[in-house]
Assembly symmetry: C2
Homo-oligomer: 225 residues x 2
Amino acid sequence: LLELTHVTKVYPTQAGEYLALKGLDFTLNRGEMVAIVGTSGSGKSTLMNIIGFLDHCTTGSYVFSGRDVSHLDDEELALIRNQKIGFVFQSFFLLPRLNALQNVMLPLLYRGIQTDLAIKKSLDMLQKVDMKKFAEHKPNQLSGGQQQRVAIARALVGDAEVILADEPTGSLDSKTSHDVMQLFIELNQNENRTIVVITHDKEVSHHCPRVVTLHDGKVVTESSS
Amino acid sequence: LLELTHVTKVYPTQAGEYLALKGLDFTLNRGEMVAIVGTSGSGKSTLMNIIGFLDHCTTGSYVFSGRDVSHLDDEELALIRNQKIGFVFQSFFLLPRLNALQNVMLPLLYRGIQTDLAIKKSLDMLQKVDMKKFAEHKPNQLSGGQQQRVAIARALVGDAEVILADEPTGSLDSKTSHDVMQLFIELNQNENRTIVVITHDKEVSHHCPRVVTLHDGKVVTESSS
Ligand SMILES: Nc1ncnc2c1ncn2[C@@H]1O[C@H](COP(=O)(O)OP(=O)(O)OP(=O)(O)O)[C@@H](O)[C@H]1O
Ligand SMILES: Nc1ncnc2c1ncn2[C@@H]1O[C@H](COP(=O)(O)OP(=O)(O)OP(=O)(O)O)[C@@H](O)[C@H]1O
Ligand SMILES: [Mg+2]
Ligand SMILES: [Mg+2]
């Protein structure tokens, strides 16, 4: 489905250039469920931002569905991202002036789905993350774990082919984490959706058939559990 | 050191009033290290905001160091908070235009500490969370776990009597989490600082001599490990 080859990522900072990814190779097949693990600062979110068309690699190539996407402009990136990717961000990024239901509906409205169908699909997904009763709360009226679950619902509601989840259980207790993982597994097995999860939680990585470990900007090990 | 008695907390929302704490009792003695656990939405952050003088209880009483603090105005709350409390927030709240070092120094400057001493203390604390080499990075130039560690350093740098940490390891891998817990244990045992940690991580709660469980706005169990 996608292949990153010898990817580097340099961030400019006032102290000079920072090399966050140092020649990384990563392949993902359709229908896989993969966990990405590694120490804080090892490059996991940076890798996921490149996979999810939120950022460019500095050098190296990225081929998605047979198409070279290494040098798309921002408009092309936005287009492919909205169609193909459901993203759960490490810091949620819910829109503060919209309530939970409106936040979840937004990607559907962008794809031209009718409002009443969008509402129905969004309420169903909120129910799956046990947040339906908080549909009218704004983000600042929700706990940390509740915001995280709304962000998860938003990433899943649109039938995106590839779900990228950056620490989706970081703010969740173990029972709620378990429920979220069951939902991911169900989408992976019943709908063949491709899922990549960055996680520090062994409970989560245990459920993933493939675990990729990053260290210092490179892939260091891969294992199949 | 502090005692909350029959505390309730009501949040007004457009859908009506939401009762987040339902008559909660909680006592904390000086020098204790306590973990607060419970499901997402059970009221942990709400409880910690009241303990940390960021919010008022709706009914009930709060006595801190023998003084009734249940009805202080915002200025009095800010004064006692700045002197007594070091807070690690669930969503960090680092100031985006300041770099890591400046963010950590801020509470010291508020207490009138000399700039060069503030710099030294801040660099020492950043070193303890393994973030000294990122001192000049702004928050948006740091990974999630790096931002969390800067927020921890800021809470610890000022010799606050009471450290309140809301999910301080949520974004950290297990080795880094372990290092942060060792730091908390060291401050608790060597400096007799009182520490309350909200956590979903069993590794963290195992290190706390006392574990309080919240469910649906009340304390349901307490245990000593
Ligand atoms: N400002 C607010 N307005 C309305 N409801 C709120 C507000 N803040 C919190 N709540 C509600 O109060 C309840 C408790 O929230 P709190 O943040 O204390 O939970 P928590 O135990 O910290 O959860 P988590 O583990 O998910 O962080 C939640 O159900 C939440 O929706
Ligand atoms: N915009 C930026 N400018 C400069 N450096 C950056 C920027 N974003 C990330 N970095 C650096 O790149 C490295 C990798 O960051 P990344 O966010 O990918 O880490 P991570 O593996 O997701 O960590 P965590 O587990 O803490 O979330 C970090 O050392 C970070 O300081
Ligand atoms: Mg990250
Ligand atoms: Mg919370």
